[in-house]
Symmetry: C2
Subunit: 216 residues, 2 copies
């Protein structure tokens, strides 16, 4: 009983601060803002958490543990590269739906937080994320599911950023489900927006003005 009561209040405060960190930014949210929102005074927060930093730490690591646990399950399944890609993208959008505030905080603050020792695990997760995606992409190119001659590092960054940046406009409970957005996103990523009759590789089809400017 007592433990439930304690952790319930704790979790309430954590959810509430996650919302404020996501909406206003971690740095711009003061412990007084959090306390006001909870209807208590700022000093009382320190009964539950040792510091503001500890709060955002718990928010982020909870989200990341959940995400990577799901990713590892997918990678352990016996799927082709294309199916793995589809599954990971769907899982990512579902995670944006489920951990919306945490994902928003991660997107906005990870780069700065990761510079401090305490949040070095953010860099580790980034490495793990890259390895996972490279594996899927390389396997897909080998098997012929994806086009050859792709710059896989660029494709990786492209996919990573395009998926997660959706947290900026996606709204849980809104008109589009995570699965629907994932499907449309995969549609573009895999097949492009060009019509079949208009379809052509950019290297062949891009306007002369663009081609002239290329150097690399």
């Amino acid at each position: 009983m007592k433990r439930d009561g304690v952790s319930r209040r704790r979790q309430e405060l954590l959810d509430l601060s996650a919302r404020l960190f996501a909406e206003r930014g971690y740095g711009a949210t003061t412990v007084r803002d959090i306390a006001d929102e909870a209807g208590i005074l700022s000093g009382s927060l320190y009964h539950h958490f040792p510091s503001k930093e500890a709060m955002v730490d718990e928010i982020l690591s909870t989200f990341l543990d959940d995400l990577f646990s799901s990713y590892r399950e997918i990678m352990a399944r016996d799927l082709g590269a294309r199916q793995k890609l589809e599954a990971v993208v769907v899982e990512s959008f579902e995670c944006i739906d489920k951990h919306h505030h945490a994902v928003a905080i991660f997107q906005n603050e990870a780069k700065h937080l990761a510079q401090s020792e305490r949040f070095s695990y953010l860099n580790d997760r980034g490495q793990e994320f890259r390895a996972l995606w490279r594996q899927i992409l390389e396997e897909g190119v080998r098997s012929g599911a994806f086009r050859p001659h792709l710059d896989l590092d660029l494709v990786f960054r492209f996919i990573r950023d395009t998926v997660w940046v959706a947290v900026r406009w996606y709204r849980p409970g809104g008109p589009l489900s995570a699965q629907n957005v994932a499907a449309q996103y995969l549609d573009i990523l895999l097949d492009g927006i060009s019509s079949r009759r208009g379809r052509s590789r950019v290297a062949n089809g891009m306007s002369p003005a663009v081609k002239e400017k290329q150097r690399a």
Copy 2:
């Protein structure tokens, strides 16, 4: 002579603060940080600028004026939808190259800054940006350059976010030119990463597990 001297120093301070705002975040950068970097004391900054807010305001509006001036030129040219799309994407990556710090600040801070009256022009620019992209996409669907039945609002957000978020990893003067990144990006956006033999619409080709979960 005197005017040049004044504006040169002013511009130095503006460039330097843009770098710090981009690297550390606007809120996390203090006027003392800026002054330290410039080798002067914080009070001296107020000889050049009325406030810290005025500095970031000037950085952002300079960048946006330049960007939209280029966009308007492109839209005034007599191009097909696909060529317009290519030109606008290339121009955007060139702008990331040219105004790297300003774009980074815009990406990280615009959402929060736009809530204050002073930065309401950020919302106006966002509207203008959306109108421009919708025009290109609608024209392309009508002309048959782009696939029919696309959710154009989603495609717009997809393109907007994927282009600008590249500021997080793109480095001016690095191994990839803006034009090269633009070309690869357009390649994926227009034709996808799927190989020709593996190619199929997601609605038909997605794994059953994904289709089952869709609700909308």
